[in-house]
Subunit: 383 residues, 2 copies
């Protein structure tokens, strides 16, 4: 279900394994439609489209969380094999459910409060919560946010209140969280079979600008203790959510330890580096996990890997300056078959090597050649 | 043109680069039809089918040599970009042309004679040639042979004569060659852009059984001098044929040096190891070469790599015991989406690592799990 770039890269991995792929796409030119074996056009929340998909597939899996859990549960009760399960997806789909469940499981998450009552009650709770923080809270849509959308990093309590009210009036549940004083952002990636067999990859450092991931450094500036803590957390999350497939845990590294920011029960942007940087990619292991096949090795293929995302800077015609991007013989370019629009994620570049600074510069150079603008600073010191 | 496994793996690499692929397929279920963006059904020798393909593509390339050079030359004159060019393809399509041209260029090839005259003349020439050899010659179809087909390793002069006569009476030109006392078979792989920029990969050792490649060892048992000689030969061949794309040179290693056995102006079975074993695969560099883009690095990704081909042993239903093949976490399985038939090439398995014996055994184990039978001996000592 879903035919974006994640489905496209899943279909590439599926082709190598000889696995037939059918995608449920909203549009005929979605990124995965060119490479999937078969395409069904329809909405991911339309029960009849999903029933058609289920009729053609042994296993249904996902490249996004914009799903209707009730419809999926119905499909599952009707005998369809849905992996990850709707129960697992709920953790990624619904932040208020996730925060409550993770809190109950003793997993480290930011202090938060769920706003889902009357307007007066919500305002009272938000003010009480903010009063205890001594800083304006970060407010988030419980459902439907991604890539910085659905998140308001408020500069004042008033701003937090007005964002909350607007979303509440639109019928959405809102989660208000304590702003986190973090040293850096990390991501831990895990693949788990239905029987519990689990593998993890090297924990990575990620750089977000305006809530959007711009680059991933492997291994980044991690110390061994933090890495072990992040890996253990990913294992625990995989068990708590009953994972079948790949799951990414985005983490805040703080002075008091790690906090779970987001989870995605699917291949994730922070794991694209695994295509070249690991013996088995997140895409191949996601397929192997949901098909209940033995998982592939996740050893590093190189001491240092950097992945930089490619975004549109201005409207394009679907053509890119591949010659400039490929001028560096080590740059591995991935383009998703999309037409450029400002801010649209169009591809990524990965470079593997031995020197972290070199692979990072090389990856940025190729990404810039493809039209991405490079911010002054993504992590650490400004350039 | 062509929609077999080579086109399938080209389409996988094209998808990563964001390159749109249209395949000209003879059958709707050919291996590449599931993964190519667009499929045209038609014969690779049908001018109207090729014209339709040319109308949809910026560049035409190939996954086989069963082409009509005159039709392709006509397309080229009409403005189509055909890479490799028909002039290059002729070296791979027509062994009698190739042997004459390579001989003129001073490239090392087996002693040979071309049989294309009257029956009496052919027999006279064959007998004179065999008389000088002191052994029965190997006779080969000048066009259309592959995977051991179109080759008769004769046990006697009579057998060589009758094979030659039968093929000659069928209208084919025949090349008779001196049998080569070889120590082993090697393959050298080269990619070349239209402007002459050239890269080579590690030269490999291959094992043929009954004319069919069963396994590829990287780097195999090569000494540095032989490797340098093979690499230099690949460069020279690429220049002589005016290559744009990837070309494989199959070589006999003899006490007197290397001899060129076959050339294929396309990605080749002996280069499948490059998908995991090299920074850039033969498929990606073939695309980059024919699209006139800078070529990717060809450094080894691991000290030792083995690739074992998967053949059908009995008729199948398109399903394989993937769980058994993937039990080894390092085995990279490639299946081409084909239904098993005895002797049909269905896929391959690659394992990268540090110990040549271990990666070879691991690759064989996975290939056997997929239904391949393992011969007692492929190269060196029997098991």
């Amino acid at each position: 279900m879903g035919a974006g770039q994640l489905a496209r890269m899943l279909a590439e991995a599926a082709s190598a394994l000889g696995v037939w792929t059918t995608v449920l796409a909203e549009r005929g030119d979605d990124a995965a439609t060119g490479v999937a074996c078969e395409v069904i056009l329809g909405s991911p929340t339309d029960a009849s489209a999903i029933a058609a998909l289920a009729g053609l597939c042994d296993v249904i899996t996902f490249d996004h969380e914009l799903v209707d859990l009730d419809v999926l549960r119905g499909m599952q009760q009707g005998g369809a094999v849905v992996r990850p399960s709707p129960d697992t997806l709920e953790f990624a789909v619904d932040k208020s459910f996730q925060r409550a469940a993770f809190s109950a499981a003793g997993l480290p998450i930011p202090d938060h409060v769920v706003l889902g009552g009357s307007e007066a009650e919500d305002i009272r709770r938000l003010r009480a919560f903010a009063g205890g923080l001594g800083a304006p809270p970060v407010v988030k849509l419980a459902r439907g946010g991604y890539d910085g959308r659905g998140v308001c990093v408020a500069g004042s309590l008033e701003e937090a209140e007005s964002a909350s009210l607007a979303w509440r009036r639109g019928g959405s549940v809102v989660v208000a969280e304590a702003p986190v004083a973090m040293r850096r952002e990390l991501a831990a990636l895990v693949a788990r079979r239905p029987d519990g067999e689990t593998v993890t990859w090297q924990v990575v450092e990620t750089a977000q600008v305006d809530g959007v991931c711009r680059e991933v450094l492997v291994p980044g500036s991690l110390d061994a203790a933090t890495e072990a803590e992040a890996e253990a957390l990913a294992h625990r999350v995989a068990d708590v959510v009953g994972l079948a497939g790949v799951l990414a845990v985005e983490l805040f590294d703080t002075a008091e330890g790690l906090l779970i920011n987001e989870v995605a029960a699917r291949p994730h942007n922070s794991g694209h580096w695994t295509i070249e940087g690991s013996v088995t990619s997140q895409f191949e292991n996601h397929l192997r996990a949901v098909l209940d096949l033995p998982l592939g090795a996740t050893d590093l293929a190189a001491p240092a890997t950097a992945t930089v995302n490619v975004f549109g800077s201005e409207p394009g015609d679907g053509r890119f300056d591949l010659a400039a991007a490929l001028a560096n013989a080590d740059a591995k370019v991935h383009l998703y078959g999309k037409v450029a629009r400002p801010g649209r994620k169009l591809g990524h570049v990965t470079v593997c090597g031995t020197d972290p600074a070199t692979v990072r510069e090389d990856a940025w150079q190729a990404a810039v050649a493809l039209g991405t603008s490079r911010p002054e600073q993504t992590m650490g010191e400004p350039r």
